[in-house]
């Protein structure tokens, strides 16, 4: 039983509590994007020639593209030449042990509740911490290696496992895929790399914690997860950023590959700085996440709790290529004040007897706009495909907007597709009923919202569920009454 009451009580101030700036010496490169920028990034990372070529191809392709404008978002013009594309905490060499890591950096992650000292981690979660453009420290690397599991920063993977990286990079999300994917492919800085070998069940949750610290920088991380035949891994991603008046760009790519009978569970608690009450500042979150169920009976499951960012543009998707493969998408998206979110999923059914489930819970408050956008595509050869979609919207104010854009493209008549959608509000009667029992309005909203989102929250790993529940309450403070 979860102690919602205590959780709620801990939440006292409605402020974004991760908004501090760390005083860490940072190395940055010049503003703006040109071929030189791409070459500098690649050189700083001591990359092989093929990767530089990959970046340059992506960059040249990006030049031919336009920023997409089909989403239900009002995106102010972004000056791509005014962004710093690489920033890294200064360090002489890659630290070999925790003692060599800048204590300010350790303090930062400690403040965020991410302990990097392994003896402090009780829950048995391995963490890769990424500050600005660089991975700071990956915990439990050695004990995972005993099982043949590779969990390291993307840059390290390029150095130590170039063949694996080259084999899978860009295979799920091509650099031509979209504007932001092309941009990321050109300038991506760091991120996490996971490889689970055949038949291995990863014994602990793998987690990456992303932190933007330096002003005027963009964060372009790249995550690649490969689960080989019969492998299993559960992966978590968390993110925060300081409060700043300027908008900052975040354009990440996550690629997942699940081979025969492999299963990957990917959970995100996205809490980038959302901007202030008047909509000033905040992160622009333009992310491409896609998983390929390559093998038969493979499964990829996305769970996301999206509470942060000024603008979110994100559609974690599954390509169900293997026969009997399964794709899942569970989402809670909260928007408050002037936040905008256009998020959802794509389920592309290609193999036979493929199944997908979509559960989307949108919660809108203040003057925010919250859209679900989803595509269920059944290819001609996808015999016996099934999809169930459920899209619910909860409105907490008169001035917010909730929108649903479900698309279906069915080219095989054996498909069974179900779609349910609801829109609801928290009624005055519900709030008063809670108050009459002694529960304050704020707490009542928290209870009702968490109840509404329960189906998705239950999918999160325990360690994250409590955090996410708190986050929901913080995000909505002051939104009712």
């Amino acid at each position: 039983m979860q102690d919602s009451n205590n959780i709620l009580k801990e939440v006292t101030a409605g402020e974004y509590k991760y908004g501090f700036v760390s005083n860490i010496e940072t190395e940055t490169i010049h503003r703006g994007l040109d071929e030189e920028t791409v070459r500098i990034i690649s050189a700083k990372k001591n990359e092989p020639e093929w990767l530089l070529e990959f970046r340059l191809k992506a960059y040249r392709h990006w030049l031919t593209m336009e920023q997409p404008d089909w989403a239900h978002l009002n995106i102010p013009p972004i000056d791509y030449q005014d962004i710093i594309y690489y920033a890294a905490p200064k360090a002489k060499d890659k630290p070999k042990s925790l003692d060599e890591v800048d204590p300010e950096l350790l303090k930062t992650f400690d403040k965020l509740g991410i302990p990097l000292e392994e003896q402090k981690v009780l829950s048995g979660m391995a963490v890769d911490a990424v500050m600005d453009s660089v991975s700071v420290k990956t915990t439990f690397k050695e004990s995972l290696a005993e099982k043949g599991i590779i969990f390291c920063s993307f840059s390290e993977a390029v150095q130590h496992y170039p063949d694996l990286v080259q084999k899978y990079l860009g295979k799920v999300v091509n650099y031509r895929d979209n504007f932001f994917a092309a941009l990321n492919s050109a300038v991506f800085s760091d991120g996490s790399f996971v490889y689970i070998p055949k038949g291995v069940r990863c014994p602990m949750e793998l987690s990456t914690y992303f932190r933007i610290n330096t002003a005027n920088t963009g964060q372009f991380e790249r995550t690649l997860i490969v689960a080989d035949d019969d492998a299993y891994v559960s992966y978590l991603e968390g993110c925060t950023a300081p409060m700043r008046d300027d908008n900052q760009l975040h354009a990440a790519i996550v690629e997942i590959i699940a081979n025969e009978r492999a299963e990957v569970k990917y959970s995100t608690v996205q809490n980038w700085y959302p901007g202030d009450k008047n909509g000033k500042g905040g992160i622009y979150n333009f992310v491409t996440k896609r998983g390929l169920c390559k093998g038969d009976h493979s499964k990829i499951s996305w769970t996301q709790v999206e509470t942060g960012s000024a603008i979110t543009w994100k559609y974690p998707s599954c390509i169900l290529a293997g026969d009997n493969s399964v794709g899942e998408f569970y989402s809670v998206a909260v928007t408050n004040n002037y936040q905008q979110a256009d998020t959802g999923t794509k389920m592309i059914h290609i193999g036979r007897n493929t199944r997908s489930t979509i559960v989307s819970k949108g919660i809108s408050a203040g003057h925010s706009q919250n859209s679900y956008r989803g595509l269920v595509k059944i290819s001609p050869q996808a015999e016996g495909a099934r999809n169930h979609s459920q899209c619910d919207s909860l409105l907490l104010s008169q001035t917010c907007g909730a929108h649903t854009f479900p698309y279906t493209d069915i080219q095989n008549e054996t498909a069974v597709i179900e779609h349910e959608a609801t829109t609801s509000k928290i009624s005055e009667e519900q709030l008063f009923y809670c108050q009459q029992r002694g529960i304050s309005t704020e707490e009542a909203v928290g209870l009702i919202v968490n109840g509404y989102a329960r189906e998705v929250m239950n999918k999160l790993p325990m360690e994250f569920a409590v955090e996410a529940q708190k986050l929901l309450n913080i995000s909505l403070e002051g939104s009712v009454g």
């Binding site: 205590n6 005055e428 008063f432 009459q436």
Partner: protein, 251 residues
Amino acid sequence: MMLEIKNLHASINGKEILKGINLSVKEGEVHAIMGPNGSGKSTLSSVLVGNPAFTVTEGEVTFNGKNLLELSAEDRSREGLFLSFQYPVEIPGVSMVNFMRAAVNAHRQYKGLPAVSATDFLKMMREKRAIVELDNKLASRSVNEGFSGGEKKRNEIFQMAMLEPKLSILDETDSGLDIDALRIVANGVNKLKTPENAAIVITHYQRLLDYIKPDVVHVLYKGRIVKTAGPELALELEEKGYDWIKREMGD
């Protein structure tokens, strides 16, 4: 005196419903408030518990020496005022266990007590639901969702048992109940009765008062208490209806 209402006037959307209520309730007493439809019975209970839909335009209410009208709805609850709703609202997704835990701990915090432990809380839930014969599925069910009419009312009395209020207002708790449910609900209320607490029972009909014995019976008519007497008044109303009251009032 536990509750003292003096010259209470209240309105909704500019329409005056209560037109000068005077009522005093002592510890250990059960008061019945009867009256025809539209006389202001439910408005009185709503105003006492601080329903924001109503506006108090005149008068005073003290509850255990405190100015009740100055308190927020949640603080009135924490001070020991409980309403058994006529139409309990459904709250989908919120389990009874989470809901009650939030309520009980809010009350405890108000009194400066630490939050109740999970074990003690579940034990308490078990004991109290037995009073109204609710089964162990209650804890995991969402608040009032999919409850039958009788279950909703039993759930109200269960919550009353959990919160141990000083003054309980039962707003037409008998409406929509069959005779078995009525007996369970009334027995529950009687079991919770102590010399230190009090109850106001709002009802149309005598039948609830066969089970819950009132000390005082009031008749509310057109926003005023027009008659106050002992339990025999309820029997008289049952026999003669409300017409004679109306005639007495010159209508």
